[in-house]
Amino acid sequence: MTPITRDRPFLLLVALLVMLSVAMPLLSGTGLAPSRYLTNAIGQLAAFAVLALSLDLIWGYLGILSLGHGLFFAIGGYVVAMYLLKHSFVVTGTVPDFLQFMGWKEFPFYWAGFEFFPYAFGVAVAVTLLISGVFGYVSFRSRVGGVYFAIITQALVYVAMLLMFRNDTGFGGNNGMTGFSVILGWPMGTSGMITALAVASLVTLALVLVGCRWLVGSRFGALMLATRDDETRLRTLGYETLRLKLIVWCLSALLAMLAGMLYVPQVGIINPRVLSPELSLEIAVWVAIGGRGHLVGAVIGALLVNALKFWLSSAAPDVWPFILSGLIVLVVLVFPNGLMDLAKFRLARPMGPKRMETKRMARGIGEARS
């Protein structure tokens, strides 16, 4: 694998993210500042990019496709929504809609303490680790993998969606949760807060990107690739892959949860729709289009597809599903490594000796059994 210092696409992307996150607060108030809508869109895209990275880590580098990553995204989203509602209630006294809807006088007992952000964050981490840990352990231990694993995770997120659609669970039911007014003591919805949240998402994305790049470049990353390409051989050599898969799986779940925590304050609502199997499948589509097994590809895929979706679902909502399905078929049939197949033609030539390596990598992924 290319050393970090010479991985040009990666360095370019990180530099771009850093520049953007420095420029946005500096420009705010001046005429050059992006509009509120654009700032908000950038922040949401960054959150989606983190989500794409979380899936790429497990699918691109470990060969395990999860069609249920929306579950962990939703855990982060729901916990942060609970924090925001409770916090807003403590500061302003606003009673959340869903409590009034259900005719409840007070918050259910398990909402206690959610006005403290560190506690809420801790709960999110604990719940994510618990669910991903238990589910990952029982699946990997019995060597459930491949397509089996994918459709069981899909069933998992589907069941979670049905559960959250119920109104008596105390999590907002089918209307979800909305009406957040205060975050960490500051009012929400101001231009400053929108910029701050967008910058926070961009910085998180940059940090996650660097962290993942470090991980996949390390010895641990080499083991991940080995597991992906030939798990049986690795096990025959005496390496227990269960622990490795479990660690990466839980880490990936945590990143998805983080993305959910960034996403919800920016859209201002969460409802069980984020748990629909379609959203979880879409994450895999972003990664596939960007190029799985490439961190930069996953980020670009998430940004491109979602930017296209933002634009088209308002401009031509009926056409969007057809374009998306066309894109998927195109990527699957013609560009098995997504946009990275396009980039290869442009980037490989001037780099001379590295060409061989890129080629080998691309082939390795193309022929991997997953």
């Binding site: 397509v147 069933a155 119920r166 057809f322 998927i328």
Partner: protein, 538 residues
């Protein structure tokens, strides 16, 4: 003839037999009745009772003769004189129905308050039996309902047996029960209670609960024992009915699941590909069925009732063609990359859902209900053996038999099994594995189309309908293991039944959660599914 209606039917037969035999019923003394009508209050009361009894047990001629009398009395168009009485404006003698002038001193008898009610009842009883107009019979029934306790035994049973209007017939039977329960004769009441307990339903339970408030419940030990026994019997019947209904619904759900999953399982066993568009093939099957129905409506309305049967080959061929096209254009390139095939088939499902949405809209499609899938047989309690679910079950059984025959008895099936067990070896001995794949994919897709046809009389048909079955049918494949028909059958039955059995206890959501947890737990024990072919673990 239904089980529930059997006693009434027998009673009706009996009554008809009695009525059909001349002389079996005591002939009415017409002159005496007319004399009673013109007599004092006590004689009038007896005449009314005789008229009501005629309505219940008299001959057809007597009823036709008596029909006009109570009404004439109530409307004061009966003129009594020394020679008897004259009816209405037609100047007919009340007894002989010959035209004659009433005597000049003729008077209209005056009804006491008590007798008015009795004659109204007699009028209604006669009208219920003898009026040809269904509306008038319904009005008469409403009149009788006011005083169920005084309706003579047998009247309503006889009326129900002769009634041609099914809705009115059901109403008459309902009133017959109520009347019998409120009868003044204690043994008749006990008989009625026993009869009600034979057909347990929630309504019967409510009737029993009503009777516990009757004064006789506190005073009469026999009555109380009969009520308690009947209540227990009805409750047991309802419980049995609920269990049977749940099993029956589970069986029909499992049938649909089986048809959706068997195709998935064959394809998965053969190629390691899960077709995420299987739900949409089900949907297409249902839409093709709808289109066949519309086509028949336009071209051959006489055959409209048979559209479900005529659509079978069409639905199969259309969805099988879509499946074969899918395999040839898309999946052929993805055998080495099964996870990518998930995305590709999802893209197809997205495309198909939105195509159907654009072409047909999002509303539910309207289906005709042919006679062979409408209605059902009430068995016990709330359990109705409905023909639409039976259609799905029978359809699945036939599909199962045919699939088994294809896989076990045909050259194609032999090839499918060979390629499933060892693709490379099968290719070495000259089996055209690629065309086997294609045919199997067509078979699996066609079975999904048949599932869509079978569920169209039960579930609503719209572009999103595939989603409702697809995840459950994936779980059937996971649980059943790949490529075995037996595994798919057992898993579909298990998941279908568990879903439907848990649903009434903890709700539909809990049922799904529990099923999923059970599958995950089960995979700990047998990761390859229920009926996995023994071999090397990959």
């Amino acid at each position: 003839m239904t089980f529930r209606h059997l006693p009434t039917f027998l009673a009706g037969l009996l009554v008809s037999a009695v009525l059909a035999t001349p002389g079996a019923a005591a002939a009415l003394d017409r002159a005496a009745v007319v004399a009673g009508l013109c007599g004092n209050a006590g004689q009038m009361f007896e005449a009314a009772a005789a008229l009501t009894a005629t309505a219940a047990t008299g001959s057809d001629e007597d009823r036709a003769w008596a029909l006009a009398l109570p009404r004439a009395l109530i409307e004061k168009t009966l003129a009594c004189d020394a020679a008897g009485a004259v009816l209405g404006n037609g100047r007919l003698d009340a007894v002989s129905r010959v035209v004659r002038e009433p005597a000049p001193d003729a008077r209209a008898p005056v009804l006491s308050l008590k007798n008015r009610a009795v004659f109204e009842q007699a009028d209604a009883a006669l009208a219920l039996r003898s009026t040809p107009d269904a509306g008038a019979r319904a009005a008469a029934l409403r009149m009788l309902e006011r005083r169920p306790a005084t309706i003579p035994e047998g009247l309503l049973d006889a009326a129900a047996a002769r009634e041609s209007d099914p809705a009115l017939k059901a109403q008459i039977e309902g009133l017959a029960q109520t009347a019998a329960l409120n009868a003044s004769d204690p043994t008749a009441r006990l008989r009625a209670i026993g009869r009600i307990a034979e057909n347990p339903s929630r309504r019967a339970l409510a009737q029993m609960a009503e009777l516990t408030r009757d004064p006789a419940y506190a005073t009469n030990a026999d009555f109380r024992a009969a009520i308690d026994a009947a209540t227990r019997r009805i409750e047991r019947g309802i419980a049995i009915g609920d269990v049977l209904a749940a099993l029956y619904n589970g069986l029909s759900f499992a049938s649909i699941l089986f048809m959706a999953a068997i195709g998935l399982a064959i394809i998965f066993g053969l190629m390691g590909v899960i077709n995420l568009a299987q739900g949409e093939l089900i949907m297409i099957g249902a839409y093709v069925t709808w289109m066949v129905q519309q086509g028949l409506r336009a071209v051959a309305p006489a055959l409209l009732d048979w559209y479900l049967i005529l659509a079978i080959p069409v639905a199969f061929v259309v969805t099988a063609a879509i499946g074969i096209a899918l395999e040839a254009l898309l999946l052929r390139h993805l055998y080495k990359r099964p996870l990518m095939s998930l995305l590709a088939t999802w893209a197809v499902s997205l495309f198909l859902v939105n195509l159907v949405r654009v072409v047909f809209g999002t509303q539910n499609m309207q289906f005709e209900t042919p006679f062979y899938v409408s209605g059902g047989v009430p068995v016990i309690g709330d359990f109705i053996f409905t023909w639409n679910r039976m259609f799905a079950i029978a359809f699945a059984v036939v599909t199962l038999a045919l699939t088994w025959a294809i896989v076990r008895k045909t050259p194609l099936g032999l090839n499918i099994r060979a390629v499933t067990q060892n693709r490379d070896m099968a290719a070495c001995i000259g089996i055209p594995t690629r065309s086997v794949d294609r045919m199997a994919f067509g078979l699996g897709s066609g079975l999904a189309g048949l599932a869509g046809l079978a569920l169209s009389p039960i579930y609503s048909v719209n572009p999103q309908m595939g989603q409702n079955f697809i995840i459950d049918s994936f779980m059937v494949v996971v649980l059943g293991g790949v490529g075995t028909i037996a595994g798919t059958v057992v898993a579909a039955l298990g998941i279908g039944q568990i879903n439907v059995l848990i649903e009434p206890l903890w709700g539909a959501v809990a049922a799904k959660v529990i099923v999923l947890l059970m599958i995950i737990a089960f995979l700990q024990w047998r990761p390859e599914g229920l009926f996995a072919v023994k071999g090397r673990r990959k």
